[in-house]
Symmetry: C2
Subunit: 192 residues, 2 copies
């Protein structure tokens, strides 16, 4: 458990019900760059031994933690786009994944220019919940012929089962803070 | 002119025509976190004297430069959302701005929770082109009762006139690299 992030969630996180934890004051709408930098360093330390050559995340809220993690690993970060910009080539890697917060499927798109055969990919996101978005990023990495070497998140909601969903991948899955329950308006952290 | 960024644009930037400069390998889809960190430090140095208390940007591609700038200023960064997430309150600040790359109007939404009366706001974005997105962020800051203290960008396309559009604001406008022309498939930097 990464105490600076746990402390911040305890102080400023809001349980909105329906399993939704609002962390907009320091992660998702407003970002505390000093905290995020420290989180990136902590995640980088957890994965340095598996030698990632690239960090992969999904826009939008994965960008800040992935960027800071990539900085400490000194590797590039690629963020999957949800809409294909005009600067992308005609042929891309695309997968669809259900979005819990949007209540519909979203597209995740990566250009083959920046995700290649032989890369050692570390996936970083803000939340590990159902694992659906991360599983989508895994499919993109696999389609590119890259090797997945790890999965990291700032916050894991253990009760949504994402870790089980991803266990078949046989790579390290790490979260800086684990939350076991958001029932009854509370925020119950996992035992250290 | 910030030489590390200028050099990278000269080496890896692609002129796609129609005034579009592709910087996807190091800014817009893949991000070089070491370069972005250096850019954030350079932008922070340019604006430290105007004492910002908050950095404001727009998702998606503004997040990386704004986050790094905010880190060196030790202030929070807020990124305007283009879609209102479920974690946002019912009543928000919203403006619309034309998107050059999308060819349509997009919404820019900020929660009043994180943009308040009395804040000293520094706007940071990846590009200063027509100034339309930045002008939208200015309207959000003004609506919130905040004081605009500066506008910074990684790359200015001087030929799109954004600087003139924003000149009535009477705040410092800075760009790390200025490009005077993308005609004839070339990338012509401004004289130093």
């Amino acid at each position: 458990m990464f105490e600076p992030l746990k402390k911040r969630i305890a102080e400023e996180g809001q349980n909105l019900g329906d399993g939704i934890l609002k962390v907009d004051p320091f992660i998702n709408h407003q970002v505390d760059p000093i905290l995020m930098d420290a989180c990136g360093q902590a995640l980088a330390d957890l994965f340095r031994a598996v030698h990632p050559t690239k960090v992969l995340t999904a826009e939008i809220s994965g960008i800040a933690p992935a960027l800071m993690t990539a900085k400490y690993l000194d590797v590039p970060v690629v963020y999957a786009r949800k809409h294909k910009p005009v600067t992308m080539p005609d042929t891309v890697y695309l997968t669809v994944a259900p979005s819990h917060t949007k209540g519909r499927m979203v597209e995740l798109i990566v250009s083959p220019e920046y995700l290649a055969n032989g890369e050692r990919v570390l996936i970083i996101d803000d939340f590990l919940a159902s694992g659906a978005t991360i599983a989508g990023l895994v499919r993109l990495a696999q389609t590119a012929g890259a090797t997945l070497v790890g999965i990291g998140a700032l916050i894991e909601k253990t009760f949504e089962g994402g870790r089980d969903l991803l266990s078949y991948l046989d790579v390290p899955v790490e979260a800086l803070v684990k939350i076991d329950s958001l029932d009854d308006g509370q925020i119950i952290f996992a035992e250290a």
